[in-house]
Amino acid sequence: MRPHHMAPYLHVMQADDSTEYEIRVKGHLDPRWSAWFDGLSLTKEPDGTTVISGPVVDQAALHGLLQKLRDVGVPLISITQVSRDVA
């Protein structure tokens, strides 16, 4: 089963060891898509791209996100892992 279909079954995890990612895509995605991307935040950039950012539990969840992007045909520009400041 692809993560896309698993997503509704997974309980929202706010694991402490999750990693911050920034995923940049082409086009402006409306904030309404936040729920679709499991609550990650969407920031429209002036260059016509959108940055989807927030904590991602693990690699499997990251690939699930990428598949969602693939499935709605949003062109992917970059993925960056962001180091979090130590609290």
Partner: protein, 898 residues
Amino acid sequence: MASPLLETKLHVPKRRRSLVPRSRLIGRLISGAEAALTLVSAPAGFGKTTLLAEWLATDPACPAAAWLSLDHRENDPALFWTYVIAALQTAIPAVGARALSLVASSQSSMEPIVGTLLNDLHAIPHEAVLVLDDYHVIEAQDVHEGMAYLLAHLPPQMRLVIAGRADPPLPLAGLRARGELVEIRAADLRFTADEAASYLNEVMGLELTPAEVAALEGRTEGWIAALQLAALSMQGRDDITGFIGGFAGDDRYIVDYLVGEVLERQPPEVRTFLLQTSILSRLNGSLCTAVTGQDGGKAMLEALDRANLFLIALDDRRLWYRYHHLFADVLRARLQDEQPDTVHELHVRASDWYEQNGDRPEAIHHALAGEDFGRAAGLIELSIPAMQHARHEATLRRWLEALPEEVFKVRPVLSAGYAGAMMSTGEMEGVEARLQDVERWLETTSEGAGAPSAAMIVVDHARFRTLPASMAMFRAGLARLLGDVPGTMAQARRALELAGADDHLERGGAASLLGLAYWTNGDLDAAHRWYSEGMATLERGGYHADLIAGAVTLADIRIEQGRLRDAMTIYERGLQRAKEQALRGAADMHVGMSVLFRERNDLDAAARHLLASRELGEHAGFSQNPHRWRVAMARVREAEGDLVAAVDLLDEAERLYNGDFSANVRPIPALTARVRIAQGEVGHALAWARERKLSVDDDLSYLHEFEHITLARALLARHTTEPDDRTMHEATRLLERLLTAAEQGGRGGSVIEILALQALAHQARRELPAALASLEKALTLSEPEGYVRAFLDEGPSMVALLRAASHKGVAGGYARHLLSSAGATGGRTPGQRGLVEPLSGRELDVLRLLRTDLSGPDIARELMVSLNTMRTHTKNIFTKLGVNNRRAAVRRAEELGL
């Protein structure tokens, strides 16, 4: 019930009413007929499905075509192949019947099933094509492996077309290099400026200017779905120029923007309908009515179909539809944003509809998606027996894993099912927690004789009644894995008391576990009695796959008992059963037969069976087979006199060792120590014995019997180089005690070996009458079962002793038989040994270059063959030489004088 087959998945999608002709792409599909694989790979909305449907409908030379639209459920290999076969049968009715029955009835791996299917495909007299649409939903590695196998063996008249949003993990590079791959990608599929103009003006009748078409084409970059949405937004609009200007100047995600435009132009009831039904992967009138709670689902679907609102009819009668995937995804995202609280409720309604309409797997899917875990748990509990029977374990595990922990605490039958599913796949982590969930309830209801208490939830009452027996069986299994023999026995006996006469799984499992416990204790008669009863019970219950795994163990027990002929019969039956029912285990049977042929001193047959085992491939064997194969090969090499190769193979075997439930009665390091003795490295063997803390004064136990006999051998060997009465005395005393123990345990194989060693010990002390007396006992026991190597492996002093026995008429006939065997093989030296299968001329060429420093690709270039061909040669060489790597191949070739 298992999943009913959805006919709609096998239909070639209807062609749309009006299409932009795509003759350049159709031409490439037609001219690609020679290629094994055609890949149509592009993101959603690029017209992949439409193109393929048009091709099949318009190609005059189009072969018999089978179509399968995949969805996430086919990540279960059993379901995937069931659908593939069903699809093929729509085009070629004669294929796949046997493969289908294998999927349904057996526990075999997928490769024999694909192999059987391929046999049918090779026999078809005409060209045929199999189209797999939406292949990107497949993530299961075992499905990809099966597909790679299918692709690699596809007959020339068969063509495979795979369409999806991502390149499949199949060996594409190799196909591309050989010209076996036709690719149609996003750049090919997107509308050119001409096609966009033709679509917008001719098909949609929009009368746009070239500049307007160019603006739309530029903004959408020829993405067909976007152009379609744009056209829908423009139909009936007054200010088309304004729309195009707004669209072209906007940075928003195209589909989002356009779907917004389309939805805005729909009446509220249509908009709500679209959003609410977007959670469904398939739609029909009745289902939509149930999910939306509004009558008129069918009429609404027909209206959407007419308005061309991204609805795709799945059958000719227009009963079932689905949304275009891209459209559905955007709708679902909006639903989640606008009505987040209704999503779960919509799924639960869908679940309810599917349960009422007889599709339990889909009902479970929606119950889980709606997070109604109670409902899901109940449905899953009821489907466990059918899912296990239909071999949909992968799906079952995924469902169970999706349930939250709390659910299991109140559902003992579900918990037990989960424990069983985990244990059957050898997974131990998490089993204990599930068992404890069950036991808590069994304790509270123990007096109630099977009546569930109020707080617990039981749906499958028949299973609830067998729970006490199942639990005892699981406990026995866990104790077995932990090496707790008394615990295994106690729980297994309890399971036998608690199980009803027809609870075959519980009875059979418990009896087998009891047999294994006796085996570990060295009571071979009881071990055989219980284990064979367990197998007979499982056979009555129809658990065929377990019988083959059990055959390996049962034969092991027979061999320990010294009943080689019975063991051979068990392997022969096991092999036949594995072949007939395409079950895993044929490879193991060949290894077992090899061991027995070796004992008879038929080394050629022994090597042949090992080759046969290897050729069947890893999928045909259980997880213990890799180490068992190497041990068997090491023993053959040892008998041939190649002790270096034997040690190498034993080292490999040790790395690969996998104990499973069986008793480790012949530890590999002890086998290695024996070869070391034969190599004259007695110090090595004694060091091993010290490391294992073995001593002649140990209390004897069956589990250490093989090691203690090895210690006695080491001591006898040391006595020959450094004669010392104390050493000899220790060895003979140990052998004496070992003999008594082996006789008491009914371990005939050990008795023969110990007697032979005693004979040699007597001979070393020049006590010929005593030596002959021991030898006579050994020979008498050996003759009916045909032991040969047990004597020949002892070397020249045994040959001398056999000669003396023959002269004196002690067990004369059999002694002479052994002597003639020794003569037949005694003269064999490594250089003269033939191979089971000689190397071909080309293989000898490759072998010559393997001896150089050249790399694989260099060798391929040197011989002017492809790297693939070179690899095939190398693989064959390795197989024929019985080695696993280049270094070993070179060494072995030198030994053989090749």
